[in-house]
Symmetry: C2
Amino acid sequence: MIAKTPQPPYYAVIFSTVRTDIDKEYEETAFRMEELAKEQEGYLGIETARNELGITVSYWKSLDSIAKWKNNMEHTMARNKGRMLWYEKYRLRICKVERDYGFEK
Amino acid sequence: MIAKTPQPPYYAVIFSTVRTDIDKEYEETAFRMEELAKEQEGYLGIETARNELGITVSYWKSLDSIAKWKNNMEHTMARNKGRMLWYEKYRLRICKVERDYGFEK
């Protein structure tokens, strides 16, 4: 669902991926990484969708919280497996959210 | 597919949406908006995926190019229809991409 983020500024990591056809351990690991991210200091929320392209956006309080999450040991091991097995290619963009607004019926 | 964006800094608009069950004219308009965005000054690329949640990220050269796209007449009409018909809720986040990196097999 749409993440309930605070007033900007905060940070977003846009993770755009193209998968291989190797599914082994992918779903469990993706789920585990989402759960693990939620436990990290500075985590604000996550949004994810996938068709041919997958887009996962995670939201963070600061660049420092993003750097810590990047260096988390279990996350690093998952990333290495991702490069070996699950991802054909990906792009990761680190952004500062400057403004946001919403609509709700 | 993954957008081929230039060296940062550039801008991203993260558009996270929850749809209604009204499909009338939605697909055509979404396609038309993507084509129209591509014609705008400062457009750099677009990525989109949808499950329960839809995420469309468009990339832009500057805040000025985002403002011009926002005020485009045809885009404004589509946005109004979107609020009336297609979207239960959405959130739009305007971000400065500060760093990016990729992986490719």
